[in-house]
């Protein structure tokens, strides 16, 4: 295999990886702060994409602005959902909070996905490109949309990092993710920040959906695979680590691409790509459960 081939596959893997990371970052946030596994994340991503599509179709807004609108809509919507369904997480009457969150988000996913088929119709839709055309570098061909998605995604993730490390609200979020009780002691309203975190997580998922729509098209079940990718990334990067998500996302994108590219049996290479990503995840869980950058002590308090 030539170096050129390797370069092309690796470069594509990196671009796709950043896109995966954007989806995963929302899961990381929700997981580290609400301590729940959000199985409906893929469907929030799907809703964000559709929202942006309809905003472009019916309000005529440019795609980037539509993305912001979708983020806003999902932010609000998610907080409403959180208030409606997740508040038992905070009362002491709930015994097993981990499972509760899992199950409720299962139910949510079921509801959202199947309602989407009815509401949006089953046929795939595609909003117009952010920037039509492609960039070429030798044999490497990357569509502008992918670069935009990767770039904007990176900006959003870095923005989130900045927010969490440099602003008061972000630091409060971080505090809640480390220890809810201690955060309460210093006067942080954990309940409010939980809703806030869920909203931000959903907004990031919506952004991902809007960015990705021109690349992969919109379909009601488009969130199924990204959901699994998101979990692989969250574990690989370390639950609770936003910067870990970026690295892990790129790592996942690379491993999938390189597996498809080089696995000796061409008939099976592509078919087992997703299984490979999951296998990497499982190996990490056995030998290094805190992932690359995660904190060791993540437990319900």
């Amino acid at each position: 295999m030539s170096w050129d081939y390797l370069f092309v596959q690796a470069a594509n893997g990196a671009v796709v990886g950043v896109i995966y990371a954007l989806i995963a970052v929302g899961v990381t946030l929700i997981f580290s702060i609400l301590k729940i596994v959000n199985f409906a994340h893929g469907d929030l991503y799907m809703l964000g994409g559709y929202c942006a599509y309809y905003v472009i179709e019916y309000l005529g807004l440019p795609p980037l602005l539509a993305m912001v609108v979708a983020m806003g809509a999902l932010f609000v919507g998610a907080i409403v959902l959180e208030r409606l369904t997740l508040t038992p997480l905070y009362s002491d009457a709930t015994e097993r909070k981990d499972e509760y969150g899992l199950i409720v988000t299962f139910g949510l996913a079921y509801f959202l996905r199947n309602t989407a088929v009815i509401a949006f119709g089953p046929f795939p839709l595609k909003p117009p490109s952010f920037i039509p055309g492609v960039q070429r570098l030798g044999n490497l061909v990357v569509t502008n949309d992918r670069l935009v998605a990767g770039g904007v995604g990176l900006v959003l993730i870095l923005g989130l990092l900045y927010f969490m490390q440099r602003t008061i609200w972000g630091q409060a979020l971080d505090a809640v993710s480390q220890s809810r009780d201690s955060a309460a002691i210093v006067g942080i309203n954990a309940r409010r920040f939980n809703s806030f975190a869920f909203g931000i997580g959903a907004a990031l998922a919506a952004a991902a959906g809007a960015l990705v729509a021109p690349i992969f098209s919109l379909a009601p079940d488009m969130g199924v695979l990204p959901n699994i990718h998101a979990y692989v990334i969250v574990i690989l990067g370390g639950m609770g680590s936003v910067s870990g998500s970026i690295i892990a996302g790129i790592l996942l994108g690379e491993s999938e691409n390189l597996f498809t590219a080089f696995f000796p049996d061409p008939t099976r290479a592509f078919a087992y790509t997703n299984a490979f990503g999951v296998l990497v995840l499982m190996v990490f869980l056995i030998f290094r459960p805190q992932g690359l950058f995660g904190r060791r002590h993540l437990r319900m308090e």
């Binding site: 295999m1 030539s2 081939y5 092309v8 596959q9 594509n12 893997g13 796709v16 009362s91 009457a93 996905r113 199947n114 088929v117 119709g121 089953p122 046929f123 795939p124 839709l125 595609k126 492609v134 061909v141 569509t143 690349i215 992969f216 098209s217 379909a219 009601p220 079940d221 488009m222 199924v224 695979l225 999938e256 691409n257 390189l258 498809t260 590219a261 061409p266 008939t267 099976r268 290479a269 592509f270 078919a271 790509t273 997703n274």
Partner: protein, 417 residues
């Protein structure tokens, strides 16, 4: 805060849920039933993980058929009522749906289905109960090969479709084909029939299986591109939503369609309503199959159906829709001739079907050689078309195969020509 006695909460919740269920039944209620409706069952995927896009099209066609039949006074003087069952692409749902339709709803016959594995489960139930079941868009050979008298098929099957692709690929002069199939019953059977035909013609190929949920094919396409000798054709058997990004990516990355490499997609998405919106330019020069009559052979029935479908649903009918519509009419015709709703009588009448509808003259073979010919609509039209313009509708696309109905001189239009 003391929680209320749990069983009271549970009881209240149960009542609440019961109330919601009953209340919504009023909203989603079935239309008012006139005197003694003739119930026909419909099975197919309407939600994930099944092929819900095609299922929706089939459902629409069945509804249109029922509407038109009822406008003319129904069947045997009774209004036709179609009872729909969502089978989601899962065999156990198929069994449950078939059982419910037969034992509970007491349908006189069943039509539909898009997934072979589900139909295989459904037909067992129908066979045990002696209820006729018409396969609308399932292509597995074993469906008719099993020899159940209740089973009839209006769709072509893989032997008829994939064979055409194989023959056409050879005739068009391709020597080195990249085959990508989706890991579903449809994709698998396409591969199983296509490869031996390619072998017969001495065409070389490489086969790749893909997860039906995939949307990212870049790595695989780059791998195809790096193959030596270069592939001159990209044959895809892929029916899920990912087909669109696949075709777009293949085109953007310069693989196919391109002057060097052609592309075909079998399975349905290339003729679905949002095809062009999703793939744009990448769809030009793509080859796909249509399982209705080619436009130059349309008879009055075809034209009437297409017009009615367009009027009601604002889209051109897909092949699956045409098949489902015709299946309903074939059934109605058989019931009228049988003058009865008894299963055996309908089966006997179906065997004698000889009616011309939108897809041509319907007859069912009663021979068993080959074994899949039994109760198969042998003359099911299948044609391969190649899009020559962006935004072109499938019915207008030039037919390239079989040559006796082709309406262009070339067998394959190379991009750039």
């Amino acid at each position: 805060m003391r929680i209320a006695r749990p069983w009271r909460v549970s009881a209240k919740l149960a009542v609440l849920i019961g109330g919601i269920v009953i209340a919504s039944s009023q909203l989603v209620g079935t239309p008012a039933k006139a005197a003694d409706p003739l119930k026909v069952g419909w099975v197919g995927p309407l939600s994930p993980p099944g092929g819900y896009a095609e299922g929706a099209l089939m459902k629409q066609a069945a509804e249109l058929a029922a509407e038109q039949l009822n406008a003319k006074g129904g069947v045997l003087g009774r209004p036709v009522q179609v009872v729909f069952a969502d089978t989601r692409g899962k065999p156990e749902e198929g069994t449950a749906a078939a059982e419910r339709l037969i034992s509970q709803e007491k349908v006189v016959a069943i039509t539909g289905e898009f997934h072979s594995s589900v139909f295989l489960a459904e037909m067992e139930v129908a066979h045990k109960a002696g209820v006729p079941i018409i396969a609308v868009d399932v292509w597995a050979l074993s469906i008719t090969a099993k020899g159940y008298p209740e089973v009839f098929r209006v769709a072509p099957n893989q032997a008829l479709i994939a064979t055409k692709y194989g023959d056409w690929i050879a005739a068009a002069g391709f020597k080195n084909v990249a085959v990508l199939f989706e890991k579903t019953d449809g994709g698998q059977s396409a591969r199983d029939v296509l490869l031996p035909v390619l072998d017969k013609h001495g065409v070389k190929y490489e086969v790749v299986g893909a997860d039906p949920n995939s949307t990212e094919f870049t790595a695989q396409i780059e791998r195809f591109k790096s193959h030596q000798p270069p592939f001159d054709f990209f044959m895809t058997a892929y029916s899920e939503a990912g087909a669109y990004p696949m075709i777009s990516q293949s085109h953007t990355l310069g693989f196919a369609p391109s002057p060097r490499t052609g592309i075909a997609n079998s399975g349905g998405p290339a003729v679905d309503p949002t095809f062009w919106k999703n793939v744009g330019e990448a769809g030009k020069y793509l080859v796909t199959e249509i399982v209705g009559l080619p436009k130059n052979a349309w008879n009055d029935k075809t034209k009437a159906f297409v017009a009615a479908y367009r009027k009601k649903y604002n889209q051109p009918p897909s092949p699956q829709a045409i098949e489902n519509y015709d299946a309903m009419l074939v059934l109605a015709d058989a019931i009228e001739r049988a003058k009865s709703t008894d299963g055996k009588a309908i089966v006997a009448a179906l065997e004698k079907t000889d009616i011309t509808l939108g897809r041509g003259r319907y007859t069912f073979s009663t021979g068993k050689d080959p074994d899949w010919a039994y109760h198969q609509f042998m003359n099911a039209p299948v044609a391969l078309v190649q899009y020559s313009k962006v935004g072109q509708e499938a019915e207008d696309a030039p037919i390239v195969w079989p040559r006796n109905i082709a309406d262009v001189k070339y067998t394959y239009l190379k991009p750039g020509q």
